[in-house]
Each structure stands twice: as C-alpha cells, then as structure tokens.
Amino acid sequence: MTVLRTDLVRGLALCADEDGTRSTVETALVEPVDPGDRLLVHAGTALTRLEPAR
C-alpha cells in the first residue's frame, strides 16, 4: 500500500492499495514513514517497507 498521509501523534497512516481503496494503517513497526512510501500491510499493520515505486 502507498502512504498518502501520516498521523505522527497516533502512529497511523492513511494508505491506498493498488485499486485506490483507502484504509488506516498502524505504522509503529516501520516508522518513520512519509507520504509516497510503499508498505507491506497485513491485518492493518505495516510489517515492512518496500523499495520506492518505479
């Protein structure tokens, strides 16, 4: 999923998947994250960061 917006206070990020569907993602395990970062998300939690999109 791609990070659209971050909420640093709550440790959450608004992310969109490849279809554009948006959801709130827990980012505590991969912080810091920035808009544009691509994350592997499982059950609402980002587990790892992927390389930037080509």
Partner: protein, 371 residues
C-alpha cells in the same frame, strides 16, 4: 505493476521450469512442502504444479491460519459471542469455520452480535463506539498477524479502554514444522519457507531444519516466479549436496526479521504450555496467550470459556491434508459433501486452505504427464 508483472512473466517462468527439469535426478522422487497457505493458493491459482516434472511433488503444509483452528476453539468463540452485551469480532474467513454445532456465521444468524473486521484496529474502534458493550476480538494467525494484535492491545491499554478484550488463538510456525519433521509417516526433502511470517521472524528460526534434520529451506514470495525460483533453489541445494536456509524473498524479508515486531510480541504475549492444532493434536509451546501484564484484557479470563475439546467429524480428513499425508482430492468428502459453499472441514473454508485452493483452481487438471 512493480513486484507483480515481472514475477508473472511467462517466458521467464518457462525458463525456470526448464532449470528445474535440469536439476532433478531421474528416478528420484522429491517431496517439497510449501509451509504457507498463501503459497498453496498461488500454486493452484497459477498452475505451478503443472510446470513441474512428475517426480517433484508439492506437499501442502500447516500454514493456513484458519485451517489449524480446532472445532473446540470455534465453540468457545460462539459461547462468548452469545453472552449478553458482547460484540464478537473476527476476520471474515473465521466466521465460516464449522464448530461442533455450526459456525460463527450460523451464530450470527441466530442473533449473536458477530461482526467481521479487517484488522484488530477495527475491533478497537467498535469498542470505542460502543462503551456500554463488551467487544471481543477473536485473534487468529501466525507471526504475521500477531504483531497487529499486540499493537492493538498496547493501544487499548494506553487509551484505558475497559470494554475491549482479545480471545487469543495465535500460533507460531516453528513447533508444527518440528512436529512434522518428527512425524514417521512423512518424508520431506525440503521446505518452501513462509514469506510473510519471515518478514516478522526473519530467517534465523528456520536454521534448525538444515542443522538438525538435514533439509534445505528457501523462504519464498507469492508470485509464480517466486515459487518456481524457490523450488529451483531447493533442488539446486539437493543436487549440490548443500543444506541451508536461503532467502528468495529478499525484496521483503530481512534475514533478522522485524525486531520491533518481535519486541512488541514478547511484551504482550507468552507461550502456552500446549495448544491444540487441527489435525496435528496438541503441540507444546506452539500457541500464544496474553502475558501477565496484559492478562486483564484476556477474553478467556474475562468470560471463562468452556474450553471443551471436540473431535473432528469422522468424514473429515483435514488432519491428513494438513500433515500432507493425503492430497485434497483423496479426502472422502472432497467436492461432494464438502465444498467451499458448505465446508465440513477447515481446509475448504479459507482461500489459503489446500482443499479450497484445489477445488477452485486445480480440480480439472489433475493428470500430468510423467517426465
């Protein structure tokens, strides 16, 4: 799309299939286990089985989170869901798993307030929206999902939520692998290691497999080329008489895993002395429960669940499928009494279950030419 298109390239796939063919020793039978249900799904979806020589057999392992939940555990969940004032939350797949007297979906139809969620965070949000109700999250899954539950519990604690608790049925991947390796009725030549579990735990926990049992492990991604390449890497190890843990999924899996995730899991969970697995029986130190520090958020303590052990239906052979002893289509009720629409066993419920994957994608193409 990056990470997808290049891993579905048909020409490259044929090249790796050719490499696999060149690596097999004629007359030798290779039995490789894909541990993860996600791999099982991809194998049938993309017809990977059909690209392999007939003497390379893929055995489906116990890595489907829903499939390994025993019936008694479902009954426990239903008992909690029927309590007055409870909102019971769980993942969608879990709702269809049969207990001894119906599924959570049946219990919902009978009036229990059971809601499907995509993440434990959704359950926490429901708890905040319903302060006068008790919200229980039925936590299942391996180390991929457990960090999400752990972080949610930490949030619940930080926000002092009193009406949220977790019925923890998380399991760990290493103990069942050890149990399978000790099993006398299953001889395996190598393992396709779980991709996303390894994102959390890393590659190190699998080092006992080559060290103690002399079997190679290759951690793999979920696209068709990932799986084909992992099979080629295992066969190459066998051909070169090597035996180690290799990481095909380096674009996602760091060798050491996610240390923050391991830390938060260690804080929130502790190992149960025993946990019952569907088809595999009780396995020591294979299940997680909430640690003492988070004991007040443990739904099992809050609601005192029945904890009854229930035997699987006699016709159901999920246990043998999960151990790789029989193929899905060899089960007596496969595709007749047991279908994805009306499953008898767990392996037919989840899309990661070997029976559902085979039913949906592979059942018309069983015969293969012997190479």
């Amino acid at each position: 799309m990056k990470y997808v298109d290049e891993f579905r390239d048909a020409e490259l796939g044929r090249a790796v299939a050719g490499e696999i063919l060149s690596l097999v020793e004629p007359g030798r039978h290779y039995k490789l286990m894909e541990v993860c249900g996600g791999h099982t799904h991809s194998i049938y979806k993309y017809g990977i089985d059909d690209l392999l020589p007939a003497n390379v057999e893929l055995v489906h392992g116990p890595g489907c989170p829903v499939c390994v939940i025993p019936m008694g555990r479902v009954d426990d969940g239903i008992a909690v869901a029927h309590r007055d004032g409870v909102i019971f939350t769980c993942f969608g797949d879990m709702m269809r798993v049969p207990g001894s007297n119906g599924s959570l979906l049946d219990a919902k139809a009978a009036g229990a307030d059971i809601r499907m969620v995509y993440s434990p965070l959704d359950a926490l949000r429901i708890a905040k929206q319903n302060p006068d109700r008790e919200v229980v999250f039925f936590a299942i899954g391996f180390e991929t999902t457990a960090p999400s539950t752990a972080l949610t519990l930490k949030r619940a604690r930080a926000e002092r939520l009193q009406n949220f608790s977790v019925m923890c049925s998380h399991v760990t991947i290493v103990p069942p692998l050890r149990a399978l390796l000790e099993s006398p009725d299953l001889r395996l030549d190598g393992f396709i290691g779980p991709g996303h579990v390894s994102t959390v735990v890393g590659a190190r926990p699998f080092e006992f497999i080559p060290a103690d049992y002399g079997r190679p492990v290759v951690i793999a991604g979920f696209e068709p080329l990932d799986i084909l390449q992992a099979i080629a890497m295992i066969l190459r190890q066998l051909a070169e008489d090597r035996c180690e843990v290799e990481n095909q999924y380096r674009r996602v899996v760091p060798y050491e895993g996610n240390l923050r995730a391991l830390e938060v899991m260690a804080e929130v969970f502790e190992l149960r002395p025993h946990f019952e697995w569907r088809g595999l029986g009780f396995i020591s130190h294979s299940g997680l429960k909430l640690s003492e520090a988070y004991g007040d958020l443990d739904a099992e303590a809050r609601f005192s669940v029945p904890g009854v052990r229930v035997a699987d239906p006699k016709a159901c052979q999920c246990g043998e499928v999960l151990k790789g002893v029989i193929k899905p289509w060899e089960c007596k009720v496969f595709g007749t009494a047991c279908t994805p629409e009306r499953p008898i066993g767990t392996c037919m419920v989840s899309s990661e279950g070997a029976c559902a994957a085979y039913y949906n994608f592979g059942r018309f193409a069983r015969e293969r030419q012997v190479v």
